[in-house]
Amino acid sequence: MSNVPSNLKYAASHEWVLKNADGSVTIGITDHAQEALGDLVFVELPEVGAHYAAEKEIAVVESVKAAADVYAPIAGTVTEVNQAAADAPESVNADAYAAWLFKMTPDNMADVDALLDAAAYQAVADAA
């Protein structure tokens, strides 16, 4: 059974979003997503400073099996990327919530609040 922490918000496209005190958000892929993909071998991160609309392809994670797009859960600007995750893609399999991928400054913090909560995402993951 996949792990869906209750302190996070989620996108139906299997990203998690953590609100930080400084007004940024940290984003990664969910435990359900890493489990479905299998052993990750490659992570392509966005460029710091780039702006993305919500639901745009922003990063790529590839397992031995397949490539999967990661989508921007909300509109915003990339402020930081986790190079450690790109250097060790297996760290995302080991703990998808510790191995974050990138941070963004949302255009509108209300967009984050409108994302799925843990219960709603669990329902999405169960249906997948």
Partner: protein, 363 residues
């Protein structure tokens, strides 16, 4: 409704992640595909391949029938038990399927064909046998009362593990050279495989497959899914039907020229088309030099024109991305080419189409 092999419940009991593989509910992994891959290269793993279809040929005309039916020459099969890998072609020289033919006696052969192609293969064989008025009875052995299960046990320790579980098979299989089969009681044990490692493919009555699977598991053989099977065969440079070749692709353009026997005048289906068209592309390997993962259908840009990746993944043994590709004539091993991955051109090196076998990197 997905079809299930006789081992379906065993896979689920082991917590396998199941996928729809050409209409079959099959395990893609039991946890980590990479660990399963390493188990086969370093120790011993097993695969449920009961979705593949054994086909028995019986009758006086087995040899003349197969001689016309497939591109390799069954005249090479002179010793009982010997196996032959071949493509079965259509009149245009495209590959209907690739298969293994086991020679038992002049009146009895066994063929193993791919899962997704079994029905069209059987129909084609029946049609040709009738058209050529051959005395041969063609019987599939995957479904129904006399169904067989099939388990591939592969890896450097595969033989020892099989003998531990089936001691009665040791005498008959100990001296089995690669690409042979022996029949021991109800077991058909072949020294064939799809991983580039030593090992056996064991056919047995479907009802007994689960107890053999469980006994092998008890003996420490790692259950491996189709995910590991794919990266193992890719590293070994073995073609996957439907990906590296299909009915629109000539075996000469898919790296299978070594299986097409055209030295003498033997007439076989597709020969005229192969002779007329010749080789148009070459089938080579690629190792990605930049970071990323090569995948099927990616475009390859070379000095001699464009080519296409037919299979690609991450190689657990090389720890780099590798691929099989159909490239223009003129491209040579050692050349540097570019691969279009999501619009970026990444550097790759052209290699022979084999990357790892027998536990070692081959490059």
């Amino acid at each position: 409704m997905l079809k299930k092999t006789v081992l379906n419940a065993a896979h689920r009991a082991l917590g396998a992640r199941m996928v729809d593989f050409g209409g079959w509910d099959m395990p893609v992994n039991y946890g980590s595909q990479i660990e399963e891959h390493h188990a086969v290269r370093r120790d011993c793993g097993m695969f449920d391949v009961s979705h593949m279809c054994p086909v028995d040929l019986v009758g006086a005309d087995c040899r003349p029938f197969l001689s016309r039916l497939v591109a390799n020459d069954v005249a090479k099969l002179t010793v009982s038990g010997k196996a032959l890998y071949s493509a079965m072609l259509n009149e245009d020289g495209g590959v209907i399927d690739d298969l293994i033919i086991y020679f038992l006696t002049d009146a009895r052969f066994r063929i193993v064909v791919n899962a997704g192609t079994a029905e069209k293969d059987l129909a084609w064989m029946q049609t040709k046998a009738a058209e050529w008025k051959m005395d041969v009875t063609i019987t599939q052995r995957r479904d129904g009362d006399n169904a067989l299960g099939m388990i591939a046990v592969q890896g450097p320790n595969a033989r020892a593990k099989v003998w531990q579980v089936l001691p009665q098979a040791k005498a008959a299989t100990e001296s089995l050279k690669p690409f042979f089969a022996a029949e021991v009681d109800q077991y058909f044990i072949a020294s064939t495989g799809y991983t580039g490692e030593d090992g056996y493919e064991i056919m047995l009555p479907a009802g007994e497959a689960e107890s053999l699977w469980n006994a092998l598991k008890e003996a420490g053989v790692a259950p491996c899914g189709l995910g590991a099977r794919d990266t193992l065969r890719l590293e070994a440079g073995m073609n996957l039907y439907g990906q590296d070749m299909d009915e629109t692709v000539s075996p000469l353009d898919a790296g299978l020229a070594w299986t097409v026997a055209m030295k003498d005048e033997r007439d076989f289906v597709g020969r005229a088309a192969l002779a007329a068209n010749g080789q148009q592309k070459q089938f080579l390997g690629l190792i990605l030099l930049d970071k990323g993962v090569l995948r099927g259908h990616q475009k390859v840009i070379t000095q001699h024109g464009e080519g296409e990746i037919t299979s690609g993944s991450f190689s657990p043994t090389l720890q780099q991305s590798i691929a099989l590709a159909r490239l223009p004539l003129g491209v040579a091993v050692g050349d540097e080419v570019q691969v279009d991955i999501r619009g970026k051109l990444l550097k790759a090196k052209v290699t022979k189409p084999v990357f790892a076998r027998n536990g070692k990197v081959v490059q």
